[in-house]
Symmetry: C2
Subunit: 474 residues, 2 copies
């Protein structure tokens, strides 16, 4: 575990220095971590909480960190002393990893002395923005195919962490393996990979290269057939070697195609493999694939059993940042009263929701599917089964009354008074939670082209509070 | 220094296992790391070499790594033993960080036993792809403004490494500071940052918040004025506080605007600050800025002294992966002769250049500017000042004869027989090398919209070799 305590924006330190100097350091503050919706971001999959928890548990300013901060000539010794003994003492609520979260819903809330809550802003955002981004992208990719998806992006990841934790995020949403060996070791997930074009080029001929590879891994022989020409060279050579393997009592695994017209080539390859008697041989495709390419390949009837997906997944190429923010929702005044706060803006969507909140999800008792979410103040009772009318928070003429439902709270306690009270789930448990959550989501909210917008309402009490504060600010 | 030895794609290991089993492990191979051009990628700025060198020097498979690899049931003990004693023993040539590199030019070449050269593929790509990508994006951003640019992207970076090494890459190309404290400490570069909206919201009023901040940092007071309303509230309050600072003998630094119409607001703010006598007060702008927004702000006459640039820079938002590749260019045959290799493709641009190569740059003796580059075989003599005719390697009817020039080789020896022979430059030296390199680049090759394509030719000998190998492959 690296010490990430200094991995923060300088202004977090200048601000908490101010809170310290003005005797405000111990005032309780509430910050919400959430993201705003876009056309491409109608839902997200929470990820990165485990790393965020590690960070919070381990914030320690070492002597050399303090010496560095001293060298900036911004801070006094009383502040540096306070940093030296920093330990998180507050509460954190969060949605478990693998949860489906919608725009504007807090996915993590920190309630702590402002000195602590403000310090952690940047690092919590970095960790959760990244993994949530990649889990969301991978969820879309995995959602567009019934074939297995392997994460192959390490070489195009934005640095080692992006490769490692991007692979982790991809596994949460159902990728079946990763090419990344370190991620395999760290997270105990399947690693996969066979050989590259350079293997083929290192032998006198493609056939020699295939034979050598087959001899090496006779029971898991998957051959990359596009080094020269898939149909004229790669596939005939692969079939020659598969016949040799078969004669020796082994079952070949299949082929991989990394370039060219994947729809045409895989259909031809399937036909040729079948005709040669290798109906069980798998066809793996790779090369610049994303969720839209998957749709197109499906529509063309491409014959693909598994995908290796690299650049487009590991960087979330079409939307390489989540844009999550961490906004003040309440702060204790000089009378010791926690005052809800909002940040105003010219656009309704950018006005934040005040107070300490929770999120509940309504599920239909008949279908089991999620119907809508409600952001409420934490001290409100949850809806109890009585008919409940949900409004669109901006277009309030859009409403819907739900009956025969049950609700679940989506955020759980993670830290209480600085103590970790959350049993960290294993990766298989996180995957199972994701699967259960996505299975309860109607397809129309999930589709990649013009998804229907899932309803997220504010409780009447929260809405009234918001309007009251807005009117005060005017 | 983290151990990145397992940070690799599994297929690197399965391949070198094969080379080991077939007695080919010690055959010398040559791999080139380069990228292909796109409309947005007409040049790049080399970065990440220092981290790549650290990686190569420190490849060590620890007991737990070996135990993990053993658990995969893919490898035998003789291979695991060989990994245990892994030490890089080959040669590496590379362009120094801060160099300008064009598509298809090797920016790093490994000549080593294939066991070693193949193993390092993924990690070298991850490290160099990432930093080169960010340095290139930042170079475009910095190139579009005479104002100072600060790197503010940590919270939107794709994980901690992306934030840390992205900040490093940004500093190489002339960013004047970063918000990232850990990057500041690690690379000894200026850190900057003042306060956020939450600071303003934590006080009873904006004026109280500004006064408190001014008291804290009276000689470096930069106030964020868009929490409520820039012109009606933020700026008048800032001027009030600036007058108080002035009366107390301090000079205010200026204001920051993070939202709204930056062109209109900064022009108004400049006028109002000037009228109030604060002609020296700086205006800093931030919020979703990239090189195209900079062009637009310039065209509108926005009054901005410095920028804080986050998401768009730290993720290279418009192109979040470089797409660098690492391709086999030669391998020793079973007679001990190093045989040049190329990877064929249907598209001319995707056919690789064979053999152990170097890159030389022609400079005009009158202007000092770079005219064209030449990729040559390493054992060819450099052009010596005699008139030299350069062809476009694809559209060969485009040619140009250069006279009155000198040339420089762009790649330098980094490792020789496993020994590091390169004196690692300091970050200021790397910045100076970048500045000297970009100053020698004509503006038309650098512009962000439809840049002129810089000529990169192959020497006649390399071209002939390529054609000969192509004809053999047919």
């Amino acid at each position: 575990m690296r010490n990430l305590s200094l991995l923060t924006d300088l202004y977090e330190l200048t601000m908490i220095y101010g809170y310290h100097k003005y005797g405000m350091a111990d005032r309780t503050a509430v910050f919400d971590l959430f993201f705003r919706g876009t056309d491409e971001l109608s839902y997200a999959v929470v990820a990165g909480l485990e790393q965020a928890i590690d960070y919070v548990k381990n914030i320690r300013f070492e002597e050399e960190d303090i010496a560095y901060l001293r060298s900036l000539n911004l801070f006094d010794e009383s502040f540096l002393d306070k940093l030296k003994s920093f330990r998180f003492s507050g509460d954190i609520y969060a949605m478990p990893e693998g949860s489906i979260v919608y725009p504007y819903e807090p996915l993590l809330t920190v309630k702590a002395p402002i000195f602590e809550a403000q310090l952690m802003e940047t690092t919590l955002l970095t960790l959760i923005n990244h993994q949530t981004l990649i889990a969301t992208k991978a969820s879309k990719i995995v959602g567009e195919t019934t074939a297995g998806v392997m994460e192959f992006g390490l070489r195009r990841a934005q640095g080692p962490d992006a490769g490692i934790y991007g692979a982790r995020a991809a596994m949460i949403v159902g990728c079946i393996g990763t090419s990344n060996v370190l991620a395999g070791k760290m997270f105990d997930v399947p690693v996969s990979g066979t050989h590259a074009h350079s293997w083929v080029m290192s032998f006198p001929s493609e056939l020699d290269a295939f034979r050598a590879y087959a001899k090496l891994f006779p029971d898991s022989c998957l051959l990359l057939v596009d080094t020269y020409d898939v149909l004229k060279s790669g596939l005939p050579n692969a079939i020659k070697v598969f016949n040799e393997l078969k004669a020796a009592g082994h079952k070949p695994l299949g082929i991989r195609i990394d370039s060219g017209d994947l729809a045409y080539l895989t259909k031809e390859a399937r036909r040729i493999l079948d005709e040669a008697g290798f109906t069980d041989a798998k066809i793996c495709a790779s090369g610049d694939i994303d969720e839209y390419v998957l749709q197109s390949l499906n529509a063309q009837g491409a014959q693909i059993d598994s995908y290796g997906i690299g650049t487009k997944l590991i960087t979330s190429y079409s939307m390489p940042a989540l844009g999550g923010v961490y906004k003040l929702a309440a702060i204790e005044d000089d009378q010791g009263v926690l005052q809800p706060k909002l940040k105003i803006s010219n656009t309704m969507e950018k006005i934040t929701n005040p107070g300490l909140k929770k999120v509940v999800r309504f599920y239909d008792n008949v279908t089991g599917k999620a119907i809508a979410d409600l952001i409420m103040l934490r001290d409100e009772p949850n809806p109890d089964g009585e008919p409940y009318t949900i409004f669109d928070p901006v277009e309030t003429w859009k409403q819907k009354t739900v009956v025969d439902y049950h609700v679940r709270e989506l955020m759980v306690p993670i830290f209480e008074k600085g103590e970790l009270v959350y049993d960290l789930p294993t990766l298989p448990q996180i995957k199972a939670h994701y699967q259960a959550s996505i299975d309860k989501m109607w397809e129309q909210y999930r589709r990649i082209t013009k998804p229907h917008i899932y309803k997220v309402d504010l409780s009447q009490k929260l809405y009234d509070l918001k309007v009251k504060l807005l009117n005060q600010e005017k």
